[in-house]
C-alpha cells in the first residue's frame, strides 16, 4: 500500500504541473457546476419557468410521473437540472482519462518507466497507483461538484422539493456507483491507448471515446427518446461492471513489464 501511495503522490506532484490537467480537474467541473446554477437563477422570476410549467404537457410523460408532488414550476426546474446532472457522469471519465494519458504517455516520452519497473514494485502496485491517481481526484471533484450543485440548487430553486428530487436514490446511484465505474472504464482505456500512442492529447481524445455511450444516453434523454430512471442506471451499472472487468484485464496485460519495455514505442 505504501508504494501505491508513493506512486499516487508522485503522479499528482507531476501531472498537476501540466496546465491541461489542471484545466480538466479544476475549471471543467467548476463550469459544469456553475452553468446549471446560473440557468436556474435566471429562470427564477423570469417567467420562463412558468411558461414551461404552463406547457407541462411538452415535458415527457414519465417526467410528469417522476415529478410527483412537485408543482409545475418545480417540475420544470427539476427537468432542466436533471439534463445537467448527466455532466456529473462525464466528469469521472474526462478527469482520469486526462491524468492517465499525460501520466503514461509522459512516462513513455521521458523513458521513466524502465527505472520504475527496475525497483521492487509489483506491476499491480504500479498500475493501481497510476489508476487511482486519476480516479481519486475525479471522484472527489465530481462528488464535491455535485454537493455544491445540490446546495446551490437548494438556495436558488423555488422549492426544497427540487433539491430533494436531486438527492433521489436514482441520482445518488448514478453519481456514487456509476461515476466510479465510468472512471475505471476511462482510466483502463487510457492505459491501453497510451501504450500505443506517443502524444498525450491523442491518447486523451481516443480514450474519451468511452463517453460516446453516455453521450448517446444524454442526447436520447434530451430529445425525450428515453427517460433515465433507476432501472436504466442499474442496467448501465451492470453493463459497466462487465466492461470494466474486460478493460482492466486488457489494460493489465498491456501493462506487463516485458510488454512495456519491448513493445511500448
Amino acid at each position: 500500500m505504501e508504494k501505491i501511495l508513493t506512486i499516487i503522490r508522485k503522479e499528482w506532484s507531476e501531472v498537476f504541473k501540466n496546465r491541461f490537467v489542471v484545466f480538466a480537474v479544476a475549471f471543467m467541473p467548476l463550469i459544469f457546476t456553475i452553468i446549471p446554477l446560473v440557468i436556474l437563477y435566471q429562470m427564477q422570476g423570469s417567467g420562463e419557468a412558468s411558461e414551461i410549467a404552463g406547457s407541462l404537457n411538452a415535458v415527457p410523460n414519465e417526467y410528469a410521473a417522476i415529478c410527483g408532488e412537485l408543482t409545475g414550476q418545480d417540475c420544470a426546474q427539476y427537468f432542466i437540472l436533471s439534463q445537467f446532472l448527466m455532466l456529473f457522469l462525464i466528469m469521472p471519465i474526462i478527469i482520469p482519462v486526462t491524468i492517465a494519458s499525460y501520466s503514461i504517455v509522459g512516462e513513455k516520452t521521458t523513458r521513466t518507466l524502465e527505472p520504475v519497473l527496475a525497483t521492487p514494485i509489483s506491476t499491480v502496485e504500479l498500475l493501481a497507483g497510476k489508476a487511482l491517481a486519476g480516479v481519486i481526484p475525479a471522484l472527489l471533484v465530481t462528488w464535491g461538484s455535485y454537493t455544491i450543485f445540490t446546495i446551490g440548487t437548494n438556495m436558488i430553486a423555488a422549492s426544497p422539493l427540487v433539491t430533494k428530487q436531486l438527492l433521489d436514490p436514482m441520482w445518488l446511484l448514478a453519481i456514487f456507483v456509476l461515476g466510479p465505474l465510468l472512471s475505471i472504464a476511462g482510466v483502463s482505456l487510457a492505459v491501453m491507448i497510451s501504450s500505443r500512442v506517443n502524444d498525450p492529447r491523442v491518447a486523451e481524445q481516443l480514450s474519451s471515446l468511452v463517453m460516446i455511450p453516455l453521450l448517446a444516453v444524454f442526447m436520447a434523454q434530451s430529445f425525450g427518446l428515453i427517460q433515465v430512471n433507476k432501472t436504466v442506471i442499474i442496467w448501465f451499472a451492470l453493463g459497466l461492471v462487465v466492461i470494466d472487468t474486460l478493460l482492466l484485464y486488457f489494460a493489465t496485460q498491456l501493462f506487463q513489464r516485458e510488454t512495456i519495455l519491448t513493445r511500448w514505442k
Binding site: 508522485k10 507531476e14 501540466n18 523513458r111 524502465e114 527505472p115 527496475a118 509489483s122 513489464r257 516485458e258
Partner: protein, 308 residues
C-alpha cells in the same frame, strides 16, 4: 566466495528474433565486467534479464544468489541499474526524484541517503531545481545516484558515459572506479572500447551469443599474440631473415624502419633477438611492445562472427 552473477545457457527470444543465445558466464564479487557488442547484440537484454526486468525464454541465472524468474523481488531490491536513458521526472526536483525512487527501493533513512549521493555527485546545491533544467551530464549523474540509493551489491550500467562531454565522462569513470574499490560488482554495457579497456577486469564480447570472454590483455594475446617492435636506423631484409628461422617466432614484418616480430614470450626471447640483430650489424634505436587496442580485438571478433 560465491559468484555474484551466474548464467547457464541463458536465452531470450522476441518472437523469432534470438536476442541472447545460450549465454553462460559467472562474475565474482567486486569485479567490473564489460559487455561489448554491436547494436542489437543483446547487451541491454542481458542487463534487463539480470536485473529481473524481463524473463528469459530458457536457461537459468542467479544474481546475488537469487534466481531470476523466481526471486525477482529480491533481485530488484538488491541490484542497481543505470538504464540507457536517464529516465528522470523533468517536472520534479532532483531531491524529489531521488526521494521517490528511495521509497520504491524501501530505503530506510531516505533524507540522509539522498543527501549523501547528491553531495557525492556534486548536485546538492541544485537539489531543489527541476530536473528538466539539468544538462545531460547532470541528469546522468543523478541517474547514477538513483541507481546507488539503496546501496546495491550489484550495479548494472548501460552506456554510463554515452553522450557526455569528456570532463563529465572522466568524472563518471572515476566514480565507477571508486565504486569498484567499495567492493561492488559492476556490469558495464558500453560501446566505448577505451573505457571498457580501462575500467573492466574482464570483458565479454557478444553478438547474441558469447564470442569471447577474458581480461582485455588476454583477449589481445589470444587474438593477436604479442608483438615486439624493433626500431632500427635502417631496416633491411637480411635482419628479417635472421629472425624468421627461429622456432619461437610466429612472424616478422618490416614496416618502414621497424621490424615487427610476433612471438609468445618476449620477456624471455627479447635478449636473444637483440643480440642476434646486433651481431648481424643492425643498429637498434629502441625496442617496444606493439600494443593492440581493444578496438582491434573487438573488430576482429565481430568481423569473424559476421563472416560465419
Amino acid at each position: 566466495m560465491n559468484d555474484m552473477i551466474t548464467t547457464q545457457s541463458l536465452t531470450k527470444k522476441f518472437g523469432e528474433n534470438l536476442a541472447v543465445d545460450q549465454l553462460s558466464l559467472s562474475i565474482p564479487p567486486g569485479e567490473v565486467f564489460g559487455l561489448l557488442g554491436p547494436n542489437g547484440a543483446g547487451k541491454t537484454t542481458i542487463i534487463r534479464m539480470l536485473s529481473a526486468l524481463i524473463g528469459p525464454t530458457s536457461g537459468q541465472a542467479t544474481v546475488i544468489g537469487f534466481e531470476i524468474g523466481k526471486d525477482d523481488y529480491d533481485i530488484r531490491k538488491n541490484v542497481g541499474i543505470l538504464t540507457e536513458a536517464p529516465g528522470l521526472y523533468d517536472r520534479l526536483s532532483a531531491e524529489r526524484n531521488l526521494g521517490f525512487f528511495a521509497k520504491l527501493y524501501e530505503v530506510e533513512d531516505i533524507p540522509s541517503q539522498v543527501e549523501q549521493y547528491l553531495r557525492m555527485l556534486g548536485l546538492w546545491d541544485r537539489r531543489h531545481e527541476e530536473v528538466g533544467t539539468f544538462s545531460k551530464g547532470m541528469r546522468q549523474k543523478l541517474a547514477i545516484a538513483r541507481a546507488l540509493l539503496h546501496e546495491p551489491k550489484v550495479l548494472f550500467l548501460d552506456e554510463p558515459t554515452s553522450g557526455l562531454d569528456p570532463e563529465v565522462a572522466h568524472l563518471v569513470r572515476d566514480f565507477i572506479t571508486e565504486l569498484r574499490q567499495e567492493g561492488r560488482t559492476i556490469v558495464i554495457c558500453t560501446h566505448n572500447l577505451d573505457e571498457a579497456d580501462r575500467l573492466c577486469d574482464r570483458i565479454a564480447v557478444i553478438n547474441a551469443r558469447l564470442l569471447a570472454l577474458d581480461t582485455p590483455a588476454n583477449l589481445r594475446r589470444q587474438l593477436f599474440g604479442r608483438s615486439v617492435v624493433f626500431h632500427l636506423v635502417k631496416a633491411e631484409e637480411k635482419y628479417s631473415k635472421v629472425l624468421e628461422g627461429k622456432d619461437f617466432i610466429q612472424s616478422v614484418k618490416i614496416i618502414d624502419d621497424k621490424l615487427v616480430v610476433t612471438l609468445d614470450d618476449p620477456e624471455t626471447y627479447n635478449p636473444i633477438l637483440i643480440r642476434d640483430l646486433v651481431s648481424h650489424g643492425a643498429e637498434i634505436r629502441f625496442v617496444g611492445e606493439l600494443r593492440r587496442t581493444l578496438e582491434d580485438v573487438y573488430l576482429r571478433l565481430v568481423k569473424t562472427e559476421e563472416e560465419k
